[in-house]
Amino acid sequence: MSGPSTYVPKSAIGRWFESRLPLMGLVHSSFVAYPVPRNLNYMWTFGAILSFMLVAQIVTGVVLAMHYVPSATEAFSSINHIMRDVNYGWLVRYMHTNGATLFFLACYTHMFRGIYYGSFKAPRELLWIIGVVIYFLMAATAFLGYVLPWGSMSFAGATVITNLLSAIPLVGTAITYWLWGGYAVGDPTLNRFFSLHYLLPFIIVGAVGLHVWALHVTGQNNPDGVEVKNAERDTVAFTPYATIKDVFALSVWLIIYAWLIFYIPNYVLDADNSNIANPLATPAHVVPEWYLLPFYAILRAIPNKLMGVIALFASIAILAFLPWLDRSPVKSAKYRPTYRFFFWVFVVICIGLGWLGSQEPTEGLTLIARFLTVGYFGFFLVIMPLLSFTEKTKPIPASIADAVLPKKADATAAAQA
């Protein structure tokens, strides 16, 4: 996939530049001539959507930082200042808060896509692991950002999440004091969270660079899960084919984004966060943002503090081991009927855990959460290894072209008849 660029600049200035710094050649070989499998469906447009969301979050975030004051006494009122006084401040802030929601929605779609089509399998293990790292950085960045408005839910969230580390034996408490810069979440905590919230997105940009680089070395997976054998028959050029498809998908995505911003801008925000942080009282019902709810449900399902925290982190870390848990040589769930069934069970489990995480923990619901937690880990630790060797898969096509072209020929024949 990668190799010396075939790009030849048309202008003299372009040739002068290219012989000194082959930047345009890199862009050309990565985003113009780059061969993509010809059978990609719309699930493969989320990489572009995610790139857009990352840029959108950085641009709106930099703008918000021009008006926001990271101080325990002024942060809350500076948010109101942004909403009421700053020109278009309300728009930029709603773009940023709802942007986080759509960023995670796209990210989860992208991850489920990878699990469904086996995109984590050889030779794309590193590509997948870098993706898990990016997801973890995203969750950390979102958490830090949620603390900044300094509402009562911000404060409770900061307290609960930083206290996860107090479960570490012996040094846990010292680590929390170090994180807080005090004996409780307070002004120093808010200040450093702002600093880190500004830093992490740029580390994500770096990780995304590695992610795309690794992708362009191995080439994309595809809905049939067979590797490219003949670039001429199996692939098309990134531009215009993938570019136009990405632009169309992104346009649809932007309609959803605009609908969130202009019609239900506060839908994902918690009403409790309209109260200023109070260190002496916790809101009656502490819940994280929707995108962290399943992990919160797993934390609550386990009655022991340390084990709960370990399960929480394990539920994310386990994703990095997928390439070695699923040993089936067939990548795509399209040819794995049993795996496909369990994949959808897994999706339902994740949504179920998310719903449970949003509810008050009654005894009955906690019991259900325990069942679903077992199901969550069971999918990775039991179903995946077991199906690797026992599942009877359907025959896979000999090549990407064989998977799609005969159908097209039949359709043409049918149309002519």
Partner: protein
């Protein structure tokens, strides 16, 4: 074993290389430590290490929350029943066994840090099965001695360092 015969004895250059490396490592550590330690509680935070409270106005049965080191401390003027409930619990029933006597200086005054030992939320007073405290976050239940009885929290509500300056004045910290 031809290679064993050709191994040279450590010379002056090896010695300089190792010592220079060691000094370099110490230098790196000396630069990294300030960057790490700056995040620890600073001098102004440490200076707020104690607070004095007038408890004369707290009627029996009431809990007052005061701020100490940025977080809540509960001062509970316990009723006779609450004291008896707390004292009559067999230690075997407790997750973090402590007698009520070891947690108070005067039987009617219970002073504990108002931070749930699970994940740091502030529990609600006079609630839960034992009418001690109930944590709204994950349902930990504490008794009238602030000891953990049910739920995910591992430890009793912590007792801060405090002293009665007079009968109605307490210094916390």
């Amino acid at each position: 074993m031809a290679s064993a015969a050709t191994v040279e004895a450590p010379n002056r250059r090896d010695f300089l290389f190792l010592t220079a490396g060691a000094v370099g490592a110490v230098g790196v550590a000396a630069v990294v430590w300030p960057l790490v330690d700056q995040m620890n509680p600073d001098a102004s935070t440490l200076a707020l290490a104690s607070t004095e409270v007038d408890i004369g106005a707290i009627p029996e049965g009431q809990i007052v929350t005061v701020k100490w080191r940025g977080g809540p401390v509960f001062i509970r003027h316990r009723t006779k029943k609450e004291i008896e409930d707390a004292e009559n619990v067999p230690l075997g029933e407790l997750r973090d066994p402590q007698t009520d006597q070891s947690r108070v200086k005067k039987r009617e005054w219970l002073i504990v840090i108002g931070v749930c030992t699970h994940l740091g939320c502030v529990p609600l007073g006079q609630e839960g099965k034992y009418e001690g405290w109930l944590c709204p976050c994950h349902g930990s239940i504490y008794d009238t001695s602030g000891r953990i009885r049910q739920g995910p929290a591992p430890l009793n509500l912590a007792v801060p360092e405090y002293a009665f300056l007079t009968d109605t004045r307490v210094k916390i910290g």
